[in-house]
Symmetry: C2
Subunit: 285 residues, 2 copies
Amino acid sequence: MSEQYIEENIKDNLIMRYKINETLFSGRSEFQKVEVVQTTGYGKMLLNDDLVMLTERDEFVYHDMMAHVPLFVHPNPKNVLIIGGGDGGTAREVLRHTTVASVTMVEIDKMVVDACIEYIPQTSSELLGNPKLNLVIGDGVKFAKETTQKFDVILVDSTDPIGPAQPLFGDEFYADLYNCLTDNGIVVSQGESCHYEATMQNKLMNIIYDKFAVTSIYNFHNLTYPGGFWSFTFASKGLHPVKNFDPARVHKSQLEFTYYNPDIHVAAFALPTFQRKNIGQFIKG
Amino acid sequence: MSEQYIEENIKDNLIMRYKINETLFSGRSEFQKVEVVQTTGYGKMLLNDDLVMLTERDEFVYHDMMAHVPLFVHPNPKNVLIIGGGDGGTAREVLRHTTVASVTMVEIDKMVVDACIEYIPQTSSELLGNPKLNLVIGDGVKFAKETTQKFDVILVDSTDPIGPAQPLFGDEFYADLYNCLTDNGIVVSQGESCHYEATMQNKLMNIIYDKFAVTSIYNFHNLTYPGGFWSFTFASKGLHPVKNFDPARVHKSQLEFTYYNPDIHVAAFALPTFQRKNIGQFIKG
């Protein structure tokens, strides 16, 4: 058998080729192509529409930074909403916080959830049988518009703004999210790359700037995302991601993390000059 | 003509393929293969032994972070030594500091210098005709052992620890560098990736820890280095990279940077937990 590779076509004519041993799952849902492959250097890998969503080797970076930054800024996060996040990694990290009483996770694509439950237990371990988790297979945009529940923290754990995730980068969706938040609420969203998606990052920051009292953006180093340099946007009704962050709470939690720590929490909000030029006008609070 | 690609074989079976329009230069020196190609998305690219050394698109990140962090920690850097750095980008950034009276650059491979002068003026602009620059074609290891000059800041702008750069990751070299420093001196070195070269990063930190009063490591996001997440080691006879850093000096300099700024300076020293576990015991001061 000849050598097998998964190819991800990055913008600007960079192709990343991962050597794989085996395709564990390949299907086409109503929304997208879904694949799980066994790589030789990165553990199992989930791809949607040929884009790397996660690898077992580095998923800790993304999930640490999406979950723990807002959960340690909010003084008492009880009810958390995850939009997307079908692999389960974000839910897994959220559920480690003992303050959290319930997690509602709304994932549009059942095939992603099922494939991860079957093939990637590392991220999906909490998706079955955790009594605090309410897993809804459905449209997050519709859910945000119709729900009467209120959430302390909302995490928009979306794919890139193509295919099913496109409305998750829209103005109306964020107006609905605002209405789903408690008075102290925080929304953190997958915020793309300042190298490859500067225009999208600018657009997303503009949207939250129009609606929220406090807005910011923070960065993390993901090994297998193109360029390695990725962002989450931060929007809240009043809590500031650094000024309202107390490192003592992290120590007191006794939780241990592979990427996250109090220094990284604060440092993540320092932006390189070129990124600040692109979106600095949309940071407030 | 079929499409042309440059392939970089990364550790752990990831291959990065850049589409190129044209090979501008290809030669084999006494030390290594040297190529300059015109890519379609990253400007011109320099490769040594098939490894991407720089691209015009993101070289600002590496050169900003190598030069400006130590030059803004040292209160009055006058004499600077660069080991390697044949593309000229580090010298270019160092020479922007008005305190700097002389830069000695010792590059082993004349072919790298010549190729960059001819094809990559963006980085090599200062290599010809700047009266403050003393360009020596020679072995940096030998230079460090034999010179009687003393330097305020030494920048080890090396390739990876294979081929000609191997001794630059050695114990004896750092003992010699220590002897080339003024009493307030600082050495900053290309420190590899904590994802792909954790063992090498540990070894390098151990070497400087044995010899210097203050040791640390700082991170930056390079778009085209594998994984995007890269480090510089910091070693000094007494100056601390954060405690002895005064942001006001950056503002006073009136220099503008594309990546570097005072917030990034401080934030770069915050380490993810897994990296801290690997090398935290070698941080002191």
